[in-house]
Symmetry: C4
Subunit: 172 residues, 4 copies
């Protein structure tokens, strides 16, 4: 039986780095006045958005792991799979911010969000398989839509919101 | 009841990264003599300043968490909110250093400092609400100005100091 | 007798950073359409490949450390030696991706992989010497090829695969 | 009384990041052949050198902390002071490598090494003051030169070695 604490520590490390390197996409402007900051506003907004999303995943990971009892090889890989999609946030965020929430960057951002949500479900499912149907983890995340819905809503919400922005921009 | 140790580990990770990536703003100069280092002096000074500030926050976080007993969802988010403002230090520091402590970069730096202080108070308040009015944490941070004053003084001090520098530079 | 947990934490930190900074090699494109992403496909593929490899090492490290009982100075250095070769992954990956899996970058990548595998064997051997021939760690990793073969196969497989790609490209 | 484990975790995080971001100074070359790697050889050598030095500090930190019993505010700051000088390694290493171990970069590198050694002594001294003259930590690090000599030798050795290189290069 493997202990869970090292997996927690590794995930904390990766998520901490992801959430922090995103800020490196905000390149320091050359001018020293207020106007020099203006082009950074969309980059900043995409940073805030992604900080919230990654923070959300960390929060959920924290909650989920409270009731995890043990891990195995499948859980390690399911967790790495989640971290992989989270690791694409800095890239997707940077592209989104630099292009003022244009269509394709928005679509890519939505895609990464969506895949992270899928990876989350796979992780939850793998943990439930390991802990059994009567475990607290199955109680909390098993009954089909309870654990899944919020993330799907967030994902869809964001895709729609941005797409909408783009569509309305395209119309005028 | 959630345990506090993972929140500590995550905060340590984020603060460790913040304090370390600031050094990346000191771009390696092309020349190989002493003169090539000279333009980096203000960048270095802003790095030292920010290292001290972020170190101060880590120290305070460490002290605060010694007497924290448990956490909940609100504390997680209040802590993420603090980490968000701290994560803007590398950017604010880089802009400050590259522009030799000019007015707007100084103002932005002061603003980030100020918001981090605000986030700190919100975090302390959230923890007090969770632990109750008779808890050690309320003793140490609750009586209104005790826990707040140092940070406000630091913040105001620095803003005044820099502003002053700029004003005096502007006058001559 | 030294405890093993700090060595775990440090290794987790280094591996978490390695796996995450590789993504920084995917430079954000200037265009905002689908075509702008196309040149990034080989960079992305090399990132996926390296993510899997580094993930594999983290997994193996995790498994190995489960049965490690104690560490000494030699183990610390053998572990640092492994981390050194892993730390060259971001560079080797970036060069590989930017040059579309050309011959020399592929050879360098294979060399880094190979040296990491060698470092892994040295680490396992150092741990076995410390724990004795009857320890669980000698059981699991000592009988000559059991612990070594998978990694050697991976390494050779990848070298052959890439070399092959290049040879076939060179022929046509 | 403060516990020591969080200070360990934070130091591990910072040192792990320092040792890993140094590799980012090895910029990926544009060519895809062996010749493209050649200009990187001095950068690589300086990376290896710094990896060993930072690894040495981590090892020493690990050993020191094994016998540390408790920490206080002074220890926190003495430790941050050490981390500050270590955090200048990536910059000093990059400048050294890019300028093929020229005189001024070598001098700066030696200076950073020297200051890190000083910071180490201050940290050891602060810990001894806290633990008392009869503590294991005073036994191991207190008798004046025992704990200090190795580092001073390393430092002087390296400075002499490099300076020598430069002097001999200047003579011919």
């Amino acid at each position: 039986m493997m202990k869970k604490n090292r997996l927690e520590a590794f995930s904390d490390g990766v998520i901490a780095i992801i959430i922090t390197i995103m800020v490196l996409e905000m390149k320091i402007p050359h001018g020293d006045d207020w106007a020099a900051l203006k082009p950074l506003i969309p980059v900043f907004l995409s940073y805030v958005l992604s900080f919230i999303y990654v923070g959300l995943y960390w929060n959920n990971h924290h909650h989920l792991w409270q009731i995890v009892d043990r891990v195995n090889g499948s859980v390690l890989w399911a967790n790495l799979h989640l971290l992989f999609w989270l690791s694409l946030f800095p890239f997707a965020t940077g592209w989104l911010g630099e292009n003022h929430f244009a269509m394709w960057p928005t679509a890519l951002y939505g895609f990464v969000l969506f895949m992270a949500a899928i990876a989350w479900f796979i992780l939850a499912r793998t943990l439930i398989r390991l802990h059994g149907k009567d475990s607290p983890i199955a109680e909390a995340y098993g009954r089909d839509w309870k654990g899944k819905l919020p993330l799907l809503i967030y994902t869809s919400g964001i895709i729609l919101a941005f797409w909408n922005t783009w569509v309305s921009q395209a119309l005028y």
